[in-house]
């Protein structure tokens, strides 16, 4: 009920309480809508490398938007001859695309398994993720844990020829938000790659 001055007043405490609850709910929804989803401009790309033998550490913290800008500076040669090494096996973009298209609609499954003296490697589909897990069997091998959203793989392979679309893949990664991307632990080095909302590595 409005007063003559246009201010709101209430006939009874229950009406007042209802108004307050609605106001709080509306405010919470507005807050959730604005801060619930981190955009690329809010996300940070982190890489840490620790080399045990040489006692060397590298820490990189970059705004994800900066990485997206920089990705277009990758020389054409690097994306034109799109190869991905999985273990000691080389897969070109065309082969990867065919493999990915064949497993996209499938249930969760292992679609590449590589066993060698130094390590065993398994590439599998798990829900909406491509998972690469490796277990070291000798000093030359490495424990690998890579978890990549399927949308990123789709974007990476979204080309008509034997190239890899790094820019689109990074855009898809930004859309996925924060998360751990890769942890690789070898005999002499540990590499961790992740995205989160914090400017400095934690």
């Amino acid at each position: 009920m409005n007063t003559d001055e246009g201010q709101r007043s209430f006939d009874n405490p229950e009406e007042h309480e209802m108004f307050v609850k609605k106001a709080i709910t509306a405010f919470a929804l507005l807050l959730a809508a604005t801060v619930g989803t981190a955009q690329a401009s809010d996300l940070w790309f982190h890489v840490t490398v620790h080399e045990k033998t040489e006692d060397a550490n590298v820490t990189i913290n970059l705004p994800l938007a900066f990485v997206q800008s920089a990705i277009s500076m990758i020389p054409a040669e690097a994306s034109d001859t799109g190869h991905v090494m999985i273990g000691d096996e080389q897969f070109d973009a065309q082969k990867l695309r065919e493999l990915w298209q064949s497993v996209q609609g499938a249930q969760d499954m292992d679609f590449v398994t590589i066993d060698s003296e130094d390590e065993s490697l398994r590439v599998s589909k798990s829900g909406n993720y491509l998972v690469v897990k490796g277990t070291a069997r000798s000093d030359k091998g490495a424990d690998i844990d890579v978890r990549m959203p399927a949308s990123v793989i789709d974007a990476l392979l979204d080309t008509d020829d034997n190239t890899l679309n790094f820019a689109a893949a990074l855009q898809a990664l930004a859309a996925e938000g924060q998360g751990e991307l890769a942890t690789i632990t070898g005999d002499d080095a540990r590499v961790r790659v992740w995205i989160d909302q914090f400017p400095e590595a934690r």
Binding site: E54, A56, N57, V58, T59, L62, S69, S72, M73, P199
Partner: protein
């Protein structure tokens, strides 16, 4: 008062005004354009442990960069052709760096040597620390952007 005395007072007053004016102009240019700082600190026991600090108002460097258009036009033309494919990407990357908060961007530790690149306020800081000396270079991001805009055209 004698004419000579008056002339001396006038000359002194003019000199004082010029000095004060230059100081104020310098302070204003540092406040607006920033300062480039190069600092070298040697470890005690190394050549006497020399410490060297060179501050340069960025506005002087801005002027020098602008002058490069006229003094090195051929070299700039060649540089522009090389940078053309990446001009927009570099410009966008510089924008992102300017907008990001104070943060340590890169840290590399290799034995006793350490390299740190940090964004602090409007400046980019580069610190290289070794056994014998530490070198710190700090410059405004606007200088990097200006240099790039002259380079890329």
């Amino acid at each position: 008062m004698r004419i000579i005395a008056k002339a001396l007072i006038l000359t002194f007053a003019t000199g004082l005004v010029i000095l004060l004016g230059t100081g104020v102009a310098l302070a204003a240019s540092v406040a607006t354009s920033g300062l480039v700082l190069v600092q070298v600190s040697e470890a005690p026991g190394t050549n006497g442990g020399t410490n060297l600090t060179i501050p340069v108002p960025a506005s002087l460097l801005h002027a020098g960069i602008s002058g490069a258009r006229y003094f090195a036009s051929d070299d700039l033309r060649a540089a522009r052709q090389e940078l053309e494919p990446w001009r927009d990407a570099i410009s966008q990357a510089l924008d992102e760096l300017e907008d990001c908060p104070n943060v340590e961007l890169v840290r590399v530790i290799d034995g006793d040597e350490e390299v740190v690149v940090r964004k602090k306020g409007r400046n980019l800081l580069l610190r290289v620390q070794g056994n014998e000396e530490t070198v710190l270079v700090s410059f405004p991001m606007s200088l990097a952007r200006h240099a790039f805009s002259v380079l890329a055209g």
